[in-house]
Amino acid sequence: MQYLGVELIKPKAAFFDFSCCEGCQLQIANNENKLLDFISLVEVVNFREILTERNNDYDIAFIEGSITRKDEIDRLKKIREKAKILVAFGTCASFGGINKLKNKFKDIEWVKKEVYGNCPIETNDKVMAVNEVVKVDFYIYGCPVNKSEVEAIVQSIALGREFRYLKHPVCFRCKEKQNICLYEMGKICMGPLTRAGCGARCPSNGNSCIGCRGPAEEPNIEFMKTIMIKNGFTERQIRDKFELFSAFKE
């Protein structure tokens, strides 16, 4: 395939899931009307949710999930060695995600017991984002990822151009949809700090933004906290928002 006379790259892509719900992969598999076009951009050689065959020859590795076990660390390192481009696919891979909440607790044995009861479980004490283990070339944010953003990123790879992330916060897109600000409705919202690109899906449906896409470029976190307090939200409510996905640095 070519575009304006320039030959396109058709990379071989493999999807790998680590500790996660596989919801991000599902976003791609679910995108029925565009799935065929999508897989014409890349040659998918490994994708548990749509393919039975597996092939270990790939250029791009999409890594979904966070890293929680020792064998995952080894597996990830092996993938990194093979892949020309390694993509952190989704919030868990990019930041650690919900799984990383575990790191907040001091007593890891208590956590295991609380979550798994008496079931034997093998898990590291700390959950890691992909970039804490290997080098990451691209990030695709979101819980789950936004299908059209994934398509745009993969298309950029095919065209050999850099993908341009939106740098502004969700607020900007939310106002475009002429929503009423959730603060006006008495709700707390991470929209002013979170990176846009999701189409302000949550606030458009009356739900607070929970910051799954991580911080926008140079967010004004300090003053936003002051605003949250001024709006009557408690330290705890604020912390819940900031810490949910471990995407915001303290």
Binding site: G5, R161, E162
Partner: protein, 303 residues
């Protein structure tokens, strides 16, 4: 009772008023987004980072109508990638054909560098102000460029070459960081051969092969003697460079109103609509890109 509004066909009304069918984006509504489809007819590699693209408007009628003045810019469209503002580097006497010196830098230019001869791009323009060459008649002219600034200056160089008798002494001064960043080296001999044009080049960081001058572009002023009471200057380059050069020229006695610089800003339209090239209280695309230095001094954050 019927109270329904009638549709006003603004576009054809506009056509009725502006007869003649001339394409004039400045006044005709229907031509706002019109892009001249053009072909890349030649690509010359100047440095590892810069290529010179020769571009010709495909439609003959459009080609004959297209003309520009030195210093003006156009918007180059690569469908699917975007539109970027570029100074025209070629001779204003050539109609419908432009040369654009393009550095591999952003998304559009990186793709352009992969494009081949024969591929189509789009151009809109020309836009903006130009170097007022006619005002320089019977005066000495200093043409000063730093780095990629030579791309914007080159059309003025063609102009003085082709209208040599209009002007008194002409000095071209060009400086870069490294010798391998020098653009259009293959033309230096031709420029020098034109009666009375003096060319000076200088680099900051010479390599082993370089045998010319070493230093800053302002050092060149030690070598020349000019009658400052009758001299105009065009200075193209990064803001730091033209600030130093213009201040130096001012110290030598040239009024700031006689110096012209070209500003670079982000642009999305070239027609004073998108606001992105907003500088101080004005727009680079409409009041610029060519400004006299006095105006630049009075614009906030221009330099």
């Amino acid at each position: 009772m019927d109270l329904s509004l009638k549709y006003q066909d603004v576009l054809s009304d506009n056509k009725k008023i502006k007869t003649g069918g001339r394409l004039n984006r400045k006044t005709d509504l229907g031509n706002f987004e019109k892009t001249y489809k053009s072909e890349i007819t030649g690509i010359i590699e100047l440095t590892p980072l810069e290529k010179l693209f020769q571009i010709q408007i495909i439609d003959q009628d459009e080609r004959e109508r297209f003309s520009f003045k030195p210093g003006q810019f156009l918007m180059l469209e690569v469908p699917g990638f975007g539109e970027i503002p570029l100074s025209i580097s070629s001779s204003p006497s050539r109609r419908g054909v432009v040369e654009l010196c393009i550095r591999k830098q952003g998304r559009v230019t990186k793709f352009l560098h992969k494009m081949q001869r024969g591929a189509s791009v789009g151009i809109k323009g020309p836009f903006g102000t130009h170097f007022p060459m006619e005002k320089f008649a019977n005066a000495n002219v200093l043409l000063i460029a730093g780095g990629l600034g030579l791309a914007a200056l080159r059309s003025a160089i063609y102009y003085v070459e082709e209208n040599r008798n209009m002007f008194k002494d002409i000095f071209i001064m060009y400086g870069t960081n490294d010798p391998n960043q020098m653009l259009f080296t293959y033309q230096y001999e031709t420029w020098k051969k034109t009666d009375g044009i003096k060319l000076f080049t200088i680099v900051q960081n010479p390599d082993k092969k370089w045998s010319g001058r070493v230093g800053l572009i302002t050092d060149l002023f030690n070598e020349i003697v000019i009658d400052t009471s009758n001299t105009h200057a065009i200075v193209c380059g990064p803001p730091v460079m033209f600030k130093f050069v213009c201040n130096k020229l001012n110290d030598l006695g040239i009024p700031m109103e006689n110096m012209f610089v070209s500003l670079e800003r982000r642009m999305h339209c070239g027609m004073g609509k998108c606001c992105r090239c907003n500088v101080g209280s004005t727009y680079t695309c409409l009041s610029g890109p060519v400004f006299d230095y006095w105006t630049v001094m009075n614009l906030k954050e221009a330099i």
